[in-house]
């Protein structure tokens, strides 16, 4: 990356810059003419003294070489022009003026557009280059940087660079040209006035940047403090548990407050100085017209100067300060972005950056790794020169099952990182199959070797996409060309290439299924299931599937089968006499095990505004409730609930956990409802205010008769709700047909989960065994119907959340293991990858992964030494050195370190 911004700009945009510059130059003569014209209009056309009578004429479009008379002794006529009468001349000159305004405007439009385009292109290039660098950060460096700060730099701090780059070279020429033109024009009119104008400009140009130096310095400080603030704020989010569990939130408040105070101080000083400079600048700019009015006026009065000339000089001067001002601004901006660029560039070149050549796109399968891993005299030091690893020697086949054991300070973790080529050794060498590891590009190490750390990262994608993430090595086929036209596609591709971006389509076909041993679509789910079983994650995915939603349009077959399971479940429960465990949805009946809302809606909302408390605000629902005569019933239910809640909860402290667990009304709202209930009890039904009614109406929607047992759903209420349900459905059908998918005993509900579709009802409250029995029966049924793999297929679409936070830490590790296994790597490196699991799970996992890896190699850095009994070769480490190595049986003897490690467990 270039150190200097201008070098960077020139290197990547010189042709574009020159093109724009040429346009700017071409626009100059027109600009000069537009300055000259007002003088001609007044002096030549309007002033009657030039015309003897109505028929006398003056020349138009006659161009003489400037200063021709002084140089050659006689005027040199470039264009002869033609003669016009006074009125015609006025028209001709005025229309010429209009034309020039138009031409100047068009020039400006084209130039500005080109500049914008250039700036955005350079910004795209810069951002891509910075991202490219992030991707080439050595992992040890990535661990140290604060993501929020890096993201701020890439996103916000380079932003002004884009705006500036378009102006970097063109603006000084353009503005300088303008200022110079105006200045020359004034000079031509009157040398002395010109000199006055110029000297003031020089004072400005000298003084202002000096005053602004401190502002720039402050700007730099502001940038640093703002960046640090972004880093701190992200720490508040990441460290939320620590802050809350240690009650340090007020310390954090104080810390942030002091930072904000610092930023305020800096910004305030910037403002003070900025506005002072502005004041000074304006003052200087106004001194010139002051001299013009005084001096020029004097000259006109004494007859040494024509009034038209003074008007033209003043008009030209009007055009002088803006370019000067902009030029000074440009210079400040230049300093500013130069600093920004240097600061950003500095952050993006850590030591040990990965060579771009090592990450080169390789569009073919890499040859498998064979032979031995030969490690000789390997050493690693950290940035403080502390020895992490020292004099490591061993030779072992790539296809062997290797265990690395040792305590926490043994350095075994670093050996894992070195073997995966993620960290470069400080000394010694490591070869695989005779080739030095450092020379292997990531197309080989990243495909033939798999690495799982103790805290693997998952991307916020589906389980499936995470699973196959490791096989997105190159774009196999560009399949998503269709939506865009070919021309559009080519244009986008060209645009990407000209800004140094990569022109591959991320939506194309990237996953190399063949490397996972999947050669046709039908093999996908069985193979995935096999891998998920190997890491003990299959049951989890199955459960995701049960609560997942089937994509009915693409998989009508699954929906159809699930519908079969619904019927089978019903029959099964009937045969075992358990049919009362599930209260099915019946269009003709009120379901006492479901909420009032569910009974009214009788379906699954597809649109958000029909879900939760939003439902009550929908006019369609309100109308239906009113027409069914249900409004007063709901109100009365609300009043009963409020009365009960007040009675039950009024004495409890507001922080009591019962509020959250059981109350319909939050602790904060309870006193208000207490008042409402008292008001309602005192007055007659018609006297109750609308706002009180409104507040009470919301309460009953979560009410479940079988659970809350307040006896509110009487037969009369039931009948009205059924009526409202029907009216609501009819209205919705005609007015918002896609809003809700209604419960239909005979069809699949595409908005509800698989589980809800099979159950098609609610578990009966108060039946102790209901949950367990139904869960067991459902699983048996799905297995019998051969639907397990379909459910797993749905479960694979489960989104794991940001950094996998919708999974437990154990689940995350299991998925990461599966992601590495499915690649069928020649060498699978597991760096304490099972550390979060309990011992029993580890005991199960180790042999299971061994089996899945077949005859390919494993190097497992173990947390528990006793697990090494499953491995062919054991390396024992202590304090960064290998103390012994060999087979488990050789080392598991008295006097050996391995034995003592195992005994210590």
């Amino acid at each position: 990356m270039e150190q200097r911004l201008f070098k960077y700009i020139w290197k990547h945009s010189k042709t574009d810059q020159i093109k724009i510059l040429f346009l700017v130059l071409a626009s100059m003569p027109f600009y000069f003419l537009s300055l000259d014209l007002p003088k001609s209009i007044i002096n030549r056309a309007v002033d009657s003294q030039n015309f003897a009578d109505i028929n006398s004429t003056l020349s138009f479009m006659r161009f003489e070489l400037p200063f021709g008379e002084e140089i050659f002794g006689h005027p040199i006529i470039l264009i002869e022009g033609f003669d016009l009468t006074q009125i015609s001349l006025l028209f001709a000159l005025c229309f010429s003026f209009l034309c020039l305004v138009l031409v100047n405007g068009l020039f400006k439009f084209v130039i500005n557009t080109l500049k914008g385009q250039l700036g955005e292109r350079m910004l795209r290039r810069l951002r891509f280059e910075l991202t490219d660098r992030i991707l080439r950060f050595p992992v040890m460096h990535s661990r140290r940087v604060k993501q929020a700060e890096i993201a701020t730099m890439l996103k916000d701090e380079v932003e002004p660079l884009g705006g500036f780059i378009g102006d970097a070279i063109v603006t000084p020429f353009f503005l300088g040209g303008q200022a110079l033109t105006a200045l020359i024009f004034i000079m031509v009119q009157n040398v002395w006035l010109g000199i006055v104008a110029m000297s003031i400009v020089l004072v400005q140009a000298f003084l202002i940047p000096k005053l602004r130096r401190r502002i720039l310095d402050l700007g730099r400080q502001r940038q640093m403090t703002a960046r640090a603030l972004a880093g701190r704020v992200s720490e508040l989010v990441e460290g939320a548990v620590e802050i809350q569990s240690h009650d340090t939130s007020n310390y954090e408040r104080a810390e942030i407050s002091s930072r904000l105070g610092k930023i305020f101080k800096i910004r305030y000083e910037i403002y003070q100085r900025k506005f002072f400079v502005k004041f000074l600048n304006n003052l200087l700019a106004q001194i010139t017209p002051f001299i013009f009015y005084l001096g020029g006026g004097y000259l006109v009065i004494t007859g040494q100067f024509e009034i038209g000339t003074l008007v033209a000089v003043l008009a030209a001067y009007k055009d002088l300060p803006p370019p000067i001002k902009d030029l000074i601004n440009w210079d400040q901006q230049r300093n500013d972005v130069q600093i920004k660029y240097e600061q950003v560039a500095e952050q993006f070149q850590p030591n040990g950056m990965i060579d771009a050549e090592m990450q080169r796109l390789e569009e073919k399968h890499s040859p498998p790794l064979e032979g031995d891993i030969v490690v000789s005299n390997l050493g690693l030091v950290d940035e403080n020169e502390n020895k992490l690893l020292e004099g490591i020697n061993f030779t072992v086949g790539v296809d062997k099952k290797i265990a690395v054991v040792g305590n926490a300070s043994s350095g075994k973790e670093y050996l894992g990182l070195l073997l995966a080529n993620l960290v470069k050794s400080s000394s010694g060498s490591m070869k695989i199959g005779g080739k030095p590891m450092v020379q292997l590009p990531s197309a080989i190490t990243g495909r033939r070797i798999s690495y799982v750390s103790s805290e693997a990262y998952l991307f916020p994608l589906s389980v499936m996409d995470n699973l196959f993430y490791g096989l997105r090595n190159w774009m196999i086929k560009d399949t998503s060309l269709l939506p865009n036209s070919e021309v559009e596609y080519q244009r986008e591709k060209q645009e990407a290439l000209r800004t140094g971006n990569i022109a591959l389509n991320p939506n194309g076909e990237w996953i190399d299924f063949s490397s996972a041993g999947i050669n046709e679509p039908a093999e996908l789910v069985p193979r995935v299931t096999e891998i998920l079983r190997a890491v003990d994650f299959e049951e989890d995915v199955y459960l995701f599937g049960l609560s997942g939603i089937v994509d009915c349009e693409n998989r009508p077959d699954i929906a159809e089968s699930i519908l079969g399971a619904r019927i089978a479940l019903k029959e099964h429960l009937k045969s075992t006499g358990d049919e009362d465990l599930v209260i099915a949805f019946d269009p003709e009946k009120y379901n006492k095990n479901a909420t009032l809302r569910e009974n009214l809606l009788f379906g699954t909302p597809r649109k958000k505004q029909y879900a939760g408390n939003n439902l009550l605000t929908m006019p369609i629902l309100r109308e239906s409730v009113e027409e069914a005569g249900l409004k007063d019933s709901i109100y009365n239910m609300g009043l009963s609930i409020a009365r009960t809640m007040v009675e039950l909860f009024m004495g409890l402290p507001p922080s009591h956990q019962f509020f959250e667990q059981f109350s319909f009304i939050s602790a904060d709202d309870l006193p208000e409802f207490d008042k409402i209930v008292k008001r309602a009890d005192k007055s007659s039904f018609s006297e109750i205010s609308d706002s009180d009614r409104e507040a009470l109406m919301y309460l009953p929607f979560d009410y479940v008769e079988a659970r809350h047992r307040l006896g509110l759903v009487t037969e009369d209420v039931e009948a009205k709700i059924l009526k409202a349900r029907q009216i609501f459905a009819e209205k919705l059908e005609s007015r918002d047909p896609d809003a809700v998918e209604f419960y239909d005993p005979d069809s699949y509900n595409s908005a509800a989960s698989i589980q809800d579709n099979i159950l098609f009802g609610r578990l009966a409250y108060g039946r102790a065994e209901a949950g367990a029995t139904i869960g067991r029966v459902m699983t048996e049924l799905l297995d019998d119907l051969g639907l397990r793999s379909e459910v797993i297929e749905v479960g694979l679409e489960f989104n794991v959340g940001i950094a996998g936070n919708r999974l437990s830490s154990v689940q995350r590790q299991k998925l990461a293991l599966a992601r590495s296994l499915i690649k069928k790597p020649d060498l699978l490196i597991l760096n304490e990858a099972a550390a979060v699991m309990d011992s029993q799970s580890q005991n199960r996992l180790v042999p299971s992964i061994m089996e899945a890896q077949e005859d390919r190699g494993i190097c497992w850095t173990l947390q528990r030494a006793s697990l090494s009994q499953h491995f062919e070769y054991v390396i024992v480490m202590q304090n960064g050195k290998v103390v012994e190595s060999g087979s488990f049986d050789e080392l598991n003897k008295d006097g050996k370190v391995l034995k003592s490690l195992i005994d210590d467990e």
Partner: protein, 154 residues
């Protein structure tokens, strides 16, 4: 059966006899009503205890595993309170409870139970009284058993 009926049932239980009805209502509201069919177990000896049960209707046997197989040692009926030992002192269930007929209970979770005792100390005193009665009862049974043994060995 609505919550009001449950409150009536609770009032008849000696443990709760002296407690304000509105507190009983809160307890009923916060607890789950569970129905067990004949032959179903509420819990099994040796299980971890997470809840106590108040019988509202029906009967259940108390069964202890012995070397000679399960032995019914007592039976409980309406208004009885079972399972409190396991939630009070964190020991596994000391016996199995099996419904003898269709049994309706209120399930008082450990959390709810402690919350109630904490918030309403008079309930804690009642629990103590009931437990003391049980110890008294058990002691006198023990004395009787000893005497019987002594007589037999004479």
């Amino acid at each position: 059966m609505s919550i009001e009926q449950e409150v009536e049932a609770l009032k008849n239980i000696p443990l709760f006899a002296n407690i304000d009805p509105s507190r009983l209502k809160l307890m009923a509201f916060a607890s789950e009503r569970l129905t067990f069919k004949e032959g179903k177990e509420l819990f099994h000896q040796g299980d971890a205890g997470d809840a106590a049960y108040i019988f509202i209707e029906g009967e259940a046997d108390v069964i202890v595993d012995t070397d000679d197989g399960p032995l019914v040692v007592a039976s409980f009926g309406k208004n009885d309170f079972v399972g409190e030992i396991a939630i009070l002192c964190d020991v596994p269930r000391t016996a199995t409870i099996k419904a003898k007929s269709e049994l309706i209970t209120l399930k008082i979770t450990k959390e709810l139970f402690f919350n109630m005792v904490m918030d309403f100390p008079e309930m804690g005193v009642e629990v103590m009284r009931v437990l003391a009665h049980r110890i008294d009862h058990t002691t006198s049974q023990l004395t009787e058993a000893r005497n019987a043994l002594a007589e037999r060995s004479d």
